[in-house]
């Protein structure tokens, strides 16, 4: 797929086999250019997430309570957007990566992932710099839960979104 489509900019894996995809992306040298979204937070996909190879993991965590209403994600999304726009660049979200979850119970675990990415790295640029090209307006972020994640949230499906790279 990578060889046939030099203009491939995104990749969605609805199934398993993420190890193979990570290997192929890294071998092609395009891992940092292609936005890759996959499912299931595992030891492997977590590593890919932290390494910036995968950009978002959509996770299902059995046994968790039904998620709060999607609107409860809005404060977090606004903070992300403020961080992007530079309004609060030194908040916790100024790291290279962070995680979003619609389920409060999962937020804590995912927040710890975000903190793990905080240690300084030589190539670490500010969140604002790295994400300028992907900036999303606040208005768009406000729209995010509407119509997209309602059922997802109801089913405790969480979104671990790493705005990597």
């Amino acid at each position: 797929m990578l060889g046939e489509h030099s203009d491939l900019i995104g990749l969605y894996n609805a199934g398993a086999g993420n190890e193979g995809i990570a290997g192929a992306l890294e071998a092609s040298g395009r891992a940092q250019d292609i936005v890759w979204i996959a499912h299931e937070l595992t030891a492997d996909t977590r590593r890919f997430l932290l390494g910036g190879v995968v950009d978002a993991i959509i996770n299902q965590i059995p046994g968790t309570k039904p998620a709060p209403r999607p609107e409860s994600c809005l404060p977090l999304l606004r903070r992300i957007d403020q961080s992007r726009s530079g309004a609060h660049p030194h908040r916790n979200l100024s790291q290279r990566q962070f995680a979003v979850s619609c389920a409060a119970v999962q937020l804590k675990a995912l927040a710890s992932i975000a903190q793990l990415t905080a240690p300084t790295r030589p190539d670490l640029r500010t969140f604002r710099d790295t994400h300028r090209r992907r900036s999303v307006s606040q208005e768009k972020l406000r729209r995010m839960p509407k119509g997209t994640d309602k059922e997802t949230a109801r089913n405790s499906d969480s979104v671990a979104a790493s705005m990597a790279r």
Partner: protein
């Protein structure tokens, strides 16, 4: 009990061979004629069957336990569109098997949102089976 998740014959056979001593069965279901028939046979003899992760809704299983997969696919497309923030280009889509309803439903939800809300992003025809690096690297 482990069965190849992509092999409907193997899964159906495993369900058919289950000991009569079981009162309940939970299975990651393939949405395939043989698997549905095997589930229905179990239910007919009084076994309670639930599907996990991937459903076979037209079978007689009692319940499905798992997430809303079309919504998960729509979420993925929404994130893809936002991350790519106005860029134009192709997006590859990979599924393990369209007989696995969770994959098929995610695929459906992804196309629904990507084609409807992000016209600058063109989803390629789905590629099957990403268990090796070869298919993706080619």
């Amino acid at each position: 009990m482990h069965v190849d998740v992509f092999d409907p014959t193997a899964l159906a056979s495993a369900l058919e061979r289950l000991s009569p001593s079981y009162h309940g069965v939970a299975t990651v279901a393939l949405d395939h004629t043989r698997v549905r028939a095997a589930i229905d046979d179990l239910v007919a003899r009084g076994v309670h069957v639930v599907t996990l992760v991937s459903d076979a809704p037209s079978s007689r299983r009692a319940h499905y336990v798992g997430v809303d997969n079309p919504a998960a696919g729509r979420t993925a497309a929404s994130l893809m569109g936002r991350f790519l923030g106005g860029r134009k280009g192709k997006v590859g889509v990979i599924v393990g098997s369209m007989s696995l309803r969770d994959h098929a439903e995610r695929h459906f939800g992804f196309y629904q949102v990507l084609s409807g809300e992000y016209p600058d992003l063109v989803a390629l025809r789905r590629a099957r089976g990403a268990t090796t690096a070869n298919r993706i690297g080619r």
